[in-house]
Amino acid sequence: MQLIAQIAFLVVLVAGIAFFTKNIRRVIRNVKLGKKIDRTDKPGERFAKMARVALGQSKMVKKPFSGFLHIIVYLGFIIINIEVLEIIIDGVFGTHRILAFLGSGYNFLIGTFEILAFLVFVGVVIFWLRRNVTNIYRFLGNELKGWPKNDANYILYFEMVLMILFITMNAADLQLQLNGVYHYAQESGVIMGSFPISQFLSPLFEGLSESTLIIIERTAWWLHIIGILLFLNYLYYSKHLHILLAFPNVYLSKLTVQGKFDNLEAVTNEVKLMMDPDADPYAMPEEGAEEEVPEKFGASDVMDLNQVQLLNAYTCTECGRCTAECPANQTGKKLSPRKIMMDTRDRLEEVGNIINKKGSFEDDGKQLLDNYILREELWACTTCNACVEACPIGIDPLSIILDMRRYLVMEQSAAPSDLANAMTNIENNGAPWPYNQMDRLNWANEK
């Protein structure tokens, strides 16, 4: 019986991890559909930023209440996972509380886990209330309707259930130890672990028979570990992927001042050619030189974006802090930087699924532009960087908006007409208004 349990555990564990690995490989493959971008410079600065923003959650606490709760849930999540280590060892070797030899240190650990589990539970309940009962602007956006809202709630339910199982398991275990049951209790009668929370539950189990108690303990134990493995595999389908990706995402985020936008190199080369009086525009390409495919400017689909932008999309946790700060969104425009990220991820998944089915990407008659992100959204952006500043995990929705505008303007000449006029003016007379460049100093002589 014991051996069967051990084998069953191993099978579940290996299957859970294998499936998870498969999903992560899929994320990596899809991100690699994007263009290469070099973000390997300044590793020291990048690590420091990652430590501060991802590990230290420095931007989360800008909203003190939700930031504080998030830190509790986050710390709880990480620390309680030390307990998973023991659960795995016990599961594989059929032992009971293998780490108990640590003595008082062990008691301290288990006690801490229990308190954290309780705090996480409370935090998650408050999160649920904030999402479902109160009216918080960033949780009311259109893009959250349907799946994203359910996803957010599923995560919260998952966490609640896991914490309840953990505490139940401990409560039953404590009762079994108190009853001196073989395999659970030590011969000395010394209780392994300390149970500041579950001690209040275990009296409920007092009258139960030994076998019932064991069933309760085993059920909670199994459901807890299976739940964790399920949760791990749920990540890929969920905004909860941020718990892993936030780290590389912050590491790879832009380090320069926010106002500095990238200069397109392909354009630089063309401009150089145009400005260079010695360049021969009709020059034949050298013999044997590869025919150059003219580069597509800007982005109309996910493959035109760079890998960091695609990683951004998978990392987005749909918190809406960006959207809540967006001047366009606040004034009722369709633009929502969160939606830009969600659309990018959805389209990337769609493209990824085509590759899963057919082996490589085949045109499906859809693209990120128009099928997901509307022009009206793109043209509402003031490039103010408020979204970039607000994002707690280093996502840059503005860079995607800009790349899509580049496509619209440079590939399609599809700028709104007033804006197109302003650009014609710049081209012809060096100012966005129709004034003559020769009049540029007239102000000095005006009274």
Binding site: V257, Q258, G259, K260, F261, N263, L264, V267, V271, K272, M274, M275, E325, P327, Q330, T331, G332, K333, L335, E376, W379, A380, C381, T382, T383, C384, N385, A386, L402, M404, R405, R406, Y407, L408, V409, M410, A415, P416, D418, L419, N421, A422, M423, I426, E427, G430, A431, P432, W433, Y435, Q437, M438, D439, R440, L441, N442, W443, A444, E446, K447
Partner: protein, 263 residues
């Protein structure tokens, strides 16, 4: 006050074989927009007052390309950049000051990779350094005790982390500096950036400048101080829309200092 002000050009300096201490990049708004021209003139007066040896490019200046770039026209942006860099490098310019945060950001951050590497300073930072060097005196004068709120231009504040220079200058004017709910890193845009200045807003339920003006009105200011010609226009329109022209003025920090001096 009515005399035209003396504004030397780089071409004139070149002809005399001289180089100025700093180039004043006026920008399109500063050159052509009636409201912004008043800011330009106020700043020039301060430059004279502080005996700064400066010049402008005049008719050789052209749009930096900022609106084109943010609208997605990278090609036009880089054409503008190439032209301007040729002129600037031709004059061997080292230091540039400008009263427009958009010009400031573009010249400072996006020109270097294209061959235009200069020390670029926003006029509020420049005025502050003149003050520290003792070349310019800033005193309260008529603004003493007035309630002033500073609207952070996106391309000065969030984009380049310049928050304190304009505020330090305002403090020197002995005003009562009050912050809006959304300020500094969290400041709300005036609605002009990213090419919006030159187009109709997309459908929505309010204009961005109205939202920002309402935020400013919450703190009941006598003056909304700005550091950008576009913000200035947007906030001025917002104040008009709210029928507050009689109560709230919108002024550039440079104008306030010049005004306090009765220049």
């Amino acid at each position: 006050m009515a005399d035209a002000i003396k504004v030397p050009t780089m071409a004139e300096y070149m002809a005399q074989g001289k180089k100025p201490e700093v180039l004043f990049w006026v920008g399109c708004a500063g050159s052509f927009d009636d409201r912004a021209k008043r800011i330009t003139k106020a700043f020039v007066k301060l430059l004279h007052e502080a005996k700064v040896d400066f010049a402008v490019l005049g008719t050789e200046e052209s749009c930096t390309g900022d609106p084109a770039k943010r609208a997605g026209n990278e090609f036009l942006f880089q054409m503008q950049a190439a032209t301007n860099i040729e002129v600037l490098n031709g004059y061997e310019i080292k230091k540039v000051v400008t009263a427009c945060p958009h010009c400031f950001n573009t010249l400072k951050n996006e020109y270097p990779a294209l061959g235009g590497d200069y020390e670029v300073i926003h006029h509020t930072t420049f005025l502050k350094s003149l003050l520290e060097e003792g070349r310019l005196k800033v005193e309260g004068g008529k603004f003493k005790g007035k309630r002033i709120t500073f609207h952070d231009p996106c391309y000065l504040g969030r984009a380049n982390n310049v928050y304190e220079a304009p505020r330090d200058l305002l403090r020197k004017l002995e005003v009562e500096l009050i912050e809006m709910r959304k300020c500094k890193k969290n400041g709300l845009c005036c609605g002009a950036g990213g090419g919006q200045m030159f187009k109709e807003p997309e459908p929505g339920n309010k204009d961005v400048n109205i939202e920002r003006t309402e935020q400013a009105m919450e703190v009941k200011p006598d003056i909304i101080a700005a550091g950008c010609p576009f913000c200035n226009t947007m906030m001025t329109d917002g104040v008009k829309n709210k029928n507050q022209e009689g109560n709230i003025e919108v002024m550039d920090v440079a104008e306030m200092i010049a005004n306090a001096h009765d220049l």
